[in-house]
């Protein structure tokens, strides 16, 4: 019962054992943290790849940095109840907050310079649950995996003239996106875009049957193609001005369409479209009623994390929502810590 009974050898053995146990635990912790695995794709690395050469715009989202807030309602027609038991799929009107945005890390980008337009959406239901989604207007994603997305970002930023060629050889699915980007018609309005989830999710109906699905917001506005040259002549913020004017003169609508996969469809790969004959269900209408600038607007504080889902909707085998969630969260952590770099303008605005 006293330290006096320790022989020097036994004492040494005990101390070595203690050091080994504590050191081993610390090493396992370091390994788990990724400190010993420089190859691991972390949210930090994804954000570093997204950042423009001059560094990220402090206080802003690290991608889709330019945007404008909207509020309105999602009017569910009840048809969705056949697919999901989520309250948002039952007939009713639910408040919606969202954000029209551009796929760029630059909050000051001229609107005509950005090919990809997007919409973040949060619909809240009386049961206290939320459905958050962040959709974009291309009909499919450029690449099949999050790793390939980072490779795309690195290749497009690379000074190596062969970087993109090497990338497209390794990721042939990118060719379809490149073709879309160069040939798809442009429009002059956020209201004329179709916003697609691209990622698949699993909907569970009241009977417990699962349906893997993607969704899209299909515009009801008349789509007027405009040449890119014409857009380039417009004001750098023409999209924000246009949607503000348009909504001021009346609500703007989209039909929410859910497309259900057949067994064997590529549910894990958002770069692959599903055949045209797949079952679609129109589940309701998004009605945008008010536009507000982002700096003081209701969308500013929302992370449109696509894994914030109500019961009745969950993630599928598509690896993107998890990756997006982890990276969006990091982006949110950073931008909230940098809020002073993107000041709110109204007196009495929240800190």
């Amino acid at each position: 019962m006293s330290p006096l009974h320790n022989s020097p050898l036994r004492l040494l053995g005990s101390l070595v054992m203690i050091a080994a146990i504590v050191g081993g635990a610390a090493a396992a912790f370091a390994y788990t943290a990724g400190w010993l695995s420089p190859q691991r794709l972390t949210p930090d690395k994804m954000l570093a790849a997204l950042a423009p050469p001059g560094g990220p715009a402090l206080g802003h989202r690290r991608n889709h940095a330019k945007g404008i807030c909207f509020t309105g309602v999602f009017e569910a027609n009840g048809n969705g109840a056949a697919l999901s038991s989520a309250q948002v799929f039952t007939r009713g009107q639910y408040p919606a907050v969202g954000r029209f945005n551009l796929g760029t890390p630059d909050p000051d980008a001229a609107d005509a310079t950005v090919r990809v337009r997007g919409m973040g959406l949060r619909v809240a239901t009386p049961d206290g649950r939320e459905w958050r989604s962040a959709m974009i207007d291309p009909p499919f994603f450029p690449v099949s995996t999050p790793q390939a997305f980072r490779d795309l970002l690195l290749a497009s930023a690379s000074k190596d003239p062969n970087a993109m060629k090497t990338f497209t050889t390794a990721n042939p699915e990118f060719a379809a996106f490149a073709a879309w980007a160069s040939s798809a018609p442009w429009t002059g309005s956020y209201a004329e875009e179709r916003y697609n989830s691209l990622n698949s999710f699993v909907l569970t109906d009241a009977a417990g049957v699962e349906h893997t699905a993607r969704w899209s917001l299909v515009p009801t506005a008349l789509i007027v193609p405009v040449t890119h040259d014409d857009l380039a002549k417009r004001s750098p913020d023409f999209l924000e001005r246009e949607i503000t004017e348009r909504v001021r003169s009346g609500p703007v609508r989209w039909t929410m369409v859910v497309t259900v996969a057949n067994p064997g469809d590529p549910t894990a790969d958002p770069s692959k479209v599903w055949p045209d004959d797949r079952r679609t269900v129109e589940i309701g209408t998004l009605i945008v009623q008010r536009i507000e600038a982002e700096a003081d607007g209701p969308c500013r504080d929302i992370n449109f994390d696509p894994t914030v889902l109500p019961p009745g909707i969950r993630t599928s085998d598509d690896p993107f929502p998890a990756a997006r969630s982890s990276v969006y969260r990091e982006s949110y952590d950073l931008r909230t810590a940098e809020a002073k770099d993107y000041p709110r303008t109204e007196a009495g605005a929240k800190p």
């Binding site: 019962m1 006293s2 101390l15 054992m17 635990a25 912790f29 794709l41 206290g128 998890a322 909230t336």
Partner: protein, 192 residues
């Protein structure tokens, strides 16, 4: 003769070892989840949140038990500095077991994330959305998390020091099963 308790109560010991497993899991899940973008990110976050709330509940029960049942006295021959370290580290461990889940919950609330536990249990929001509160709570949760892990390593080292080097019965007070040495404190230890 004054009765001296040599061991924590069975419930206290059970809670100690159950929470030891939970806490170690939390450290590894926490540091692992923030360093991955793989699909496992989502179940890791969900587990971290659910386990965090479980730890909060268990820690509060344990605190009440500790206040009610107390702890066996430390050996009389333990140097005062080690006694002080033991007492302070136990205060810090209890404080962190209770504070860390609350910081995490508050941090998620200040970011306007819904907190949904296993079984679909939705926790109320503790705070309104706030950039500055979110940053403050995030920093606290992050840095205290590392400090907490370091403290647990120190606690393990100290426990092993008591068990292997001092062999003074302190480890036996919390050991999950009785250890032979404990029951015969006066037995002569054979020469080695």
């Amino acid at each position: 003769m004054i009765h001296i308790r040599h061991r924590f109560s069975p419930l206290q010991r059970l809670l100690h070892w159950l929470m030891a497993a939970c806490l170690l899991a939390m450290f590894f899940i926490g540091v692992g989840m923030v360093s991955t973008i793989m699909p496992k990110y989502l179940p890791l976050v969900a587990t971290h949140e659910s386990l965090g709330v479980a730890i909060l509940v268990l820690a509060l029960i344990r605190l009440v038990l500790r206040l009610y049942r107390g702890a066996p006295a430390l050996p009389a021959d333990l140097p005062e500095s080690m006694k002080l370290a033991a007492h302070l580290s136990h205060y810090a461990l209890y404080a962190l077991m209770i504070a860390m889940p609350l910081l995490g919950w508050g941090m998620l609330s200040a970011a306007a994330y819904p907190v949904v536990l296993y079984g679909g249990i939705r926790l109320p929001s503790l705070l309104p959305q706030s950039d500055s509160l979110h940053t403050l709570l995030w920093d606290a949760h992050f840095y205290l998390g590392f400090a907490f892990f370091a403290l647990v390593l120190l606690h393990i080292a100290a426990a092993l020091f008591h068990a292997l080097v001092r062999r003074d019965g302190v480890f036996e007070t919390i050991a999950p099963v009785p250890v032979a040495d404990e029951v015969a404190p006066t037995k002569a230890i054979p020469a080695e």
